[in-house]
Amino acid sequence: MIEIKNINKSFDGKQVLFNIDGNFKPGQTNLIIGASGTGKSVLLKTIVGLIEPDEGSVIFDGRNFTQGDRQLRTEIRQEIGMLFQGGALFDSKNVEENVRFPLDMLSNMPEDEKLDRVNFCLQRVGLENVNLKMPSEISGGMKKRVGIARAIVNNSKYLFCDEPNSGLDPQTAILIDHLIREITYEYNITTIVVTHDMNSVIEIGDHILFVFKGQNLWEGTKNDILDADVKELKDFIYANRLMLALKEKG
């Protein structure tokens, strides 16, 4: 489980996160949602330690990451897998080398076992015969899948996804959402997904945290969200005409 307590963050005197608290349980897809520029990605980067909070702490299964020493932080980071918005695949490495990278850096596995694990993860995300392709030779959706394979190859306990379906067509976006959910359930991972896509919310939102102007305004599940009585959340959900039409139809 990941707990975040009283997270505050400012940049150049402008506060972007205000006293954010939250608990993210394993085996369910936890979503952080909100409009663009509201602080979702900053919150995610603060949780994984790419940004240091001004105040507050992030606790991974009882281990305080924020106040931990370098050894503890490295240990926790080695249990983290992250899917970045653009995939963040290493341009100079092919698909296989990208997925194998965490094993090369963090494990003492023999080479043949590494290859088996890489192939297993690529198959798990629905990719075959792409091992030798370079990132520039594959589509956006495939990059996301390779990113997911890289994130889970090291048996990560925590999976973070930053806008996993941005820039993808609706069908591929849903495939990626389902893949994230399946992997979360299958391996009992603590997954946190940052998104502003309402399709994702309805598809995979087991636990949702709504962030507005750096504040946690609402928490609940996909079953509660359409009935939530928070004006800012309603504005966010029903900014989409499709959602509005669905609401009017009852």
């Binding site: 980067k45 994984v48 330690g49 790419l50 370098r70 932080r73 490295t74 240990e75 980071r77 080695q78 983290i80 992250m82 970045f84 918005q85 653009g86 963040a88 695949l89 290493f90 341009d91 990278f101 965490p102 090369d104 850096m105 963090l106 973070f160």
Partner: protein, 242 residues
């Protein structure tokens, strides 16, 4: 001053929580090919022409009949070894390798590849930058040595083909009053310049923020700052070593 302080903090970061030596060996080998071998062509072209031009210009300025022609070879040799091979090649090295390093790291930064390394618990600065610096320090003195030989050979070819010096005089000129320490001085300069170009360019690239425009700015700044650092270091080394 803040940037200089940040630069030294960055250098310290390269050695904190670094990866295994085995990881670096493979990376250093790859970077040596990218940085060293891929720079051979431009170094060959530049050094041959620098030697040729130095020989012709020296001959053109030798107006006194009291000065023997073999001095052309001596001047080409000393200018090449002390100054032209390490320094002019370093300026070219900064333009080619420095801009490449800054562009590569800057692109990795803005496409979150550096963040991906950090999230995995890898010291991204050490993993990405240290092999580039070590590869530069290994390969650049080799390039300077090659540049020195080719420059002197360029002077020989240009001088003898144009008839401004005979082959015998040129060979005599490059052998007379030879000071071995000049070679040591050239290699010391080469190591210092290689370190400056690779570390300054890496620093500029690693801390790039923004988008494609900023990557371009980082590359330009890397080359400008590297050239300034090379010239300053050249002056200081001349004071210290001569």
């Amino acid at each position: 001053m803040r940037s200089i302080g940040k630069y030294f903090m960055f250098l310290r970061l390269l050695f904190v929580n670094r990866e295994s030596i085995r990881t670096y060996i493979r990376l250093i080998f790859d970077e040596s090919i990218k940085i060293g071998v891929n720079s051979v062509f431009i170094v060959v072209i530049i050094s041959v022409f620098i030697g040729a031009v130095t020989a012709i210009q020296t001959a053109y300025n030798l107006v006194s009949p009291l000065i023997k022609e073999y001095i052309i070879g001596t001047i080409v040799r000393d200018m090449t070894i002390i100054e032209l091979a390490p320094t002019i090649t370093a300026i070219v090295f900064a333009g080619k390798v420095g801009s490449n390093i800054a562009g590569e790291l800057g692109t990795m930064r803005i496409t979150e590849q550096v963040d991906a390394l950090e999230v995995m618990g890898v010291n991204s600065a050490s993993y990405l930058v240290l092999p580039k610096i070590i590869a530069s320090i290994i390969t650049y003195p080799m390039l300077v040595t090659l540049a020195g030989f080719l420059s002197i050979w360029g002077g020989y070819v240009a001088g003898t083909l144009t008839g401004v010096v005979t082959p015998e005089d040129y060979i005599y000129g490059i052998r007379i009053d030879f000071i071995e320490f000049n070679i040591v001085m050239a290699l010391i300069k080469a190591v210092v310049f290689a370190f400056l170009v690779s570390s300054i360019s890496s620093f500029q690239g690693y801390y790039t923020r923004g988008g494609a425009l900023e990557v371009g700015i980082a590359s330009t700044t890397a080359v400008t700052n590297s050239c300034i650092a090379i010239l300053l270091a050249d002056y200081l080394l001349a004071q210290l070593l001569v």
